[in-house]
Symmetry: D2
């Protein structure tokens, strides 16, 4: 960390700060300028509460210089991480699309949708069985029977599966049915869940929280990785801002930012990021143009009667038209689909 | 809900919207103006996805007119709710203070702090045994041994206890040791946890999430109440904004807003709301002046060596000086302490 | 507007609200439901302060149903507006690029850059002569001599010009030199300036304020249009959020949202939207993929020595490589460059 | 500034950064740690664009260590600044209240309101003659005749006056009529206006912009002060957040933050900060409890018929009851009124 002393700080105050830093096991380098003294504190500790120094007399500000995450950082692993699941590779040359309904509703519904998305080029089938709903009175998902349908239909179509895990206790069951374990935005900092995912042997799709910074997203990934599971796929799904023409503001710049700071793949979720079907296609194209490693998209053959989020689900026809556009855009930046 | 049609909407589009509303079991009232047609849809359903109507042709906008929560609303329960725990009443005439360290560290630490906060007028002892930390490498709390210390020390001083529950599995254990079950900001939308708290027979202290609207906070309370547990205390603890001179922005206006919309008591947490000891006292005074039903404050006798959040903990002397000021301010608006 | 009465509102309160609405010259339609009464107030006035009704007894909420802007709305002008300046058409099939340095510095600088951007396909030369700087100690622009250079160099290359006007008094001078008058983000609600631009006979490039909603951006356009100048080009340039990995968060979803609500063209400014050269290309591609009608980009041949914003300026080589990519992406969605 | 090199940065990259810093006239101090190298760059320049260094190869991050403002900083002027206007002192022991209607409407209106607010203890009469309105179709103020009324009525009651200046051209006129020149939130970064206010000989009331950080507010003050006018009063009036239960979120923590960083007085505006009459009193009390040096409040004897912002104006009776509470709260923290 770097300690910036007040312009009026006296020598005694500076000495006290140095003593405290040494006590905290830092090497201290002092730079004395015309107006100000800086203290560079160099050491191996990543998780110091810098506010302890900030509150000492004569201190103007304390600046952290190490990232609080390590395993997730590009410094630790300079090459892009590839997450391979059978013949699908996330984080490689190809842009991977996960698609399907918000919730698994019936066997028939899943069959229709799975066939459509597979034909259009999706590699992974999505479908929720446990739904985090803001209202206790809303449909909460089919539970295990839904997972069974998901797996059965995906197997028939040769698709992989992704579905959300909402709490630690569900983990053993989920692992039986899905290829990728999804952590929802509202659980991004459910640290007990992250810790247990660290022990899982399946890739994790980690969605950015509505008010999470990119650094916090990477810290959440670090939790999973610190447990031994390095297969983490990040997902930008919209942050909350003062703008309410859209449900959330899809922060597309998070894509190039994550690619610089981390080796982990990042995909985008324009369905939740916008909340409206007619905004999904432009934002999906934008995400691929910005370099996303994949997309997760909601598709429903009868969205008016969907049990959840029909309003942001694409019709199968819209989905396949979009896939063609995405394929061309991916090509422009040297990627495939 | 109210459906606002486009200025150019044609009769056929209007008829289709009416038909869909009727299908959804609404009574529809039509108002035709010079420029625009409005459709008032009246019914008993609180959790309709209004976007289904929004995407129909000719619809300009759909406005929800019912609050999505019911049990938490003042319409449902016009008088203030009182949460009584032994001789302490939260939501009544007196402003109640919960105080103690961020984390339970040792028996000795708790004894020193508990004696100080009790003397200064606190009624409830706080202290975390399970800590949600953004870094997997930080101190995560003592667990059950910490809870034992908390209960033992509180009992000796005649204080009640409050401590955080992080997941469903911890609930049976927590219930043994604490009088109030705290839900942290990052778990405000951990719906499985909320549902299980609905079955608990202890009051719940529910902290507002960093990006949660007041409506969402009330919806989270609704989850607990829908399970049968009506003893919910809300807590404003700072929201995330673009300002970074403080850790969070304590939204003091949430206090009068909640008092208007809901019958539930609301307290403030200026320690987390500001993140810095020197900002805690002014914001604590401001919260009481704005009508808060209580405060939760971090106090530590040796904050430089605290295992977590020392930087935002008051010294016992600061705490007792603050309590005197708060008592006077409470008196100004007709309350006691 | 729609007035939602409290569930407990009594008839006398409802009658008072109706009387007040009638006094305000509204036609009132009443819908009485099981739980609630709604009052639809229909009339021709766009700028009523709905809070007057909101504060009456028994009122739960008031919802505005008319957009506060008219001339800028798509309801008023269903076809896309085309802004034609000589042979350049903004808002039509082609994506138009404005490029150049942040500030005009010297004749030589402008010549080098203008030649490069023209070769790569830009149609309009940008360059500031009056610079809004957050510090009074920073370079504030060359003033009129800068405008002279801009016009002279642009004329030689066959480019149009765009430059920022900071206050009413500068308007007569600016009009002499530029083809498009730019209003900066910090002046988006400088209403006196907007009013005077309404009398100008030149197109206006109106940048969205850092905390402006899309509706407020359209209201600012309405100010200009209400004065008689219908040639307004909107510009998304990043909003302020809690994320600080980028200077601002470029809200790409504003592009499809504006296209739905308004007939005015909208372009994107990824240079200011990200603040860093290495993020400009991905966000420029994303903007075009999302349907932007154009881009404004900072380009400098020697950004290390630029007098302002060198860090977000592309090198000419990066710019021409980007233009090739943009051209292909535009083609994917049926547009040209 | 401090340059944090990448963990993998090589010596050649480090040398290039040092050379660039030396070229920029900094003294460079190098700290080499196990993982990382830090470069402390010490010099006298406050307005360097640190992004120039940030983009060099091998640089991880650049941290600014000097505040970009100087005259407004407490380091420059450690004692609180007192703004004295006749017998009124802003920034001293007493909390000063400015009150009156949003807009000057008629002589009679001003007489009624001025008498009421004077009786209740206000020292300064507010009233707008030039109104920044988001809609071009709304009432825009009476202009100079309004200022005449304001001055005449204030003189009779022995009150000082404050009114808003919207552009440079209005300044000479305003100076004739008012004691304090108000800059609205939307003009906080109207740099031409700020510069001209630097030459005025009257105190300036500078409102924080809706998306302005506290640092930017202090930079705006610096603009005025750099022109020679040191009489700047800051005003917190609410920032924009995702919460929409209130118009804005009054950031009360800005009060203690400004008091630490700057010597300038800071007042609060709970009328604009909340936008609703019933939230004004709690937030006014909270502001004084947090240490505000004053308040600016909207008061109207007939708010239902006010030409602007009636919904957030207090009735005279509410105002005088509030003043009594404020007086007691001020006393609790050792201040008077």
């Amino acid at each position: 960390m770097v300690v910036v002393m007040d312009e009026k700080a006296v020598e005694e105050q500076i000495q006290k700060v140095i003593a405290k830093l040494v006590e905290m096991k830092f090497d201290v380098h002092r730079s004395t300028g015309v107006n100000q003294t800086l203290l560079g504190a160099i050491g191996d500790r990543r998780n110091v509460d810098t506010r302890i120094i900030e509150l000492l007399d004569g201190v103007h500000e304390v600046l952290r210089v190490t990232t609080p995450y390590k395993l997730a950082s590009r410094a630790f692993h300079p090459e892009d991480s590839l997450i391979k699941i059978r013949d699908v590779e996330i984080g490689g040359k190809n842009v991977i699309v996960m698609a399907g309904p918000c919730s698994v509703e019936t066997q028939e519904q899943m069959e229709i949708i799975a066939a459509e998305v597979r034909k259009a080029g999706a590699k992974i089938l999505r479908g929720g069985a446990f739904k985090p709903r803001t209202s206790p009175y809303s449909f909460q998902g089919l539970g295990e029977p839904g997972l069974k349908i998901l797996r059965r239909v995906a197997a028939r179509e040769g698709l992989l599966t992704v579905s959300e895990v909402m709490e630690v206790a569900q983990l053993p069951m989920l692992v039986e049915y899905v290829d990728i374990l999804q952590v929802g935005a509202r659980n991004m900092q459910n640290f007990n869940l992250l810790r247990d995912l660290g022990k899982a042997r399946k890739p994790v799709l980690l969605k950015r929280g509505l008010a999470a910074t990119i650094e916090e997203l990477l810290m959440a990934a670090e939790y999973v990785m610190a447990g031994g599971n390095y297969q983490v796929i990040l997902c930008e799904r919209g942050i909350r801002t003062f703008e309410n023409a859209t449900r959330n503001t899809l922060d597309i710049s998070a894509i190039p930012v994550v690619h610089k700071l981390s080796h982990l793949p990042i995909i985008a979720d324009p369905s939740h990021g916008t909340g409206r079907r007619d905004k999904v296609a432009p934002m999906a194209r934008a995400s691929v143009a910005a370099g996303a490693d994949g997309l997760i998209l909601e598709v429903h053959h009868d969205p008016d009667n969907a049990l959840s989020d029909g309003a942001q689900s694409l019709f199968p026809k819209q989905f396949s038209a979009l896939m063609e556009e995405l394929c061309l855009i991916a090509g422009v930046i040297g990627r495939g689909m």
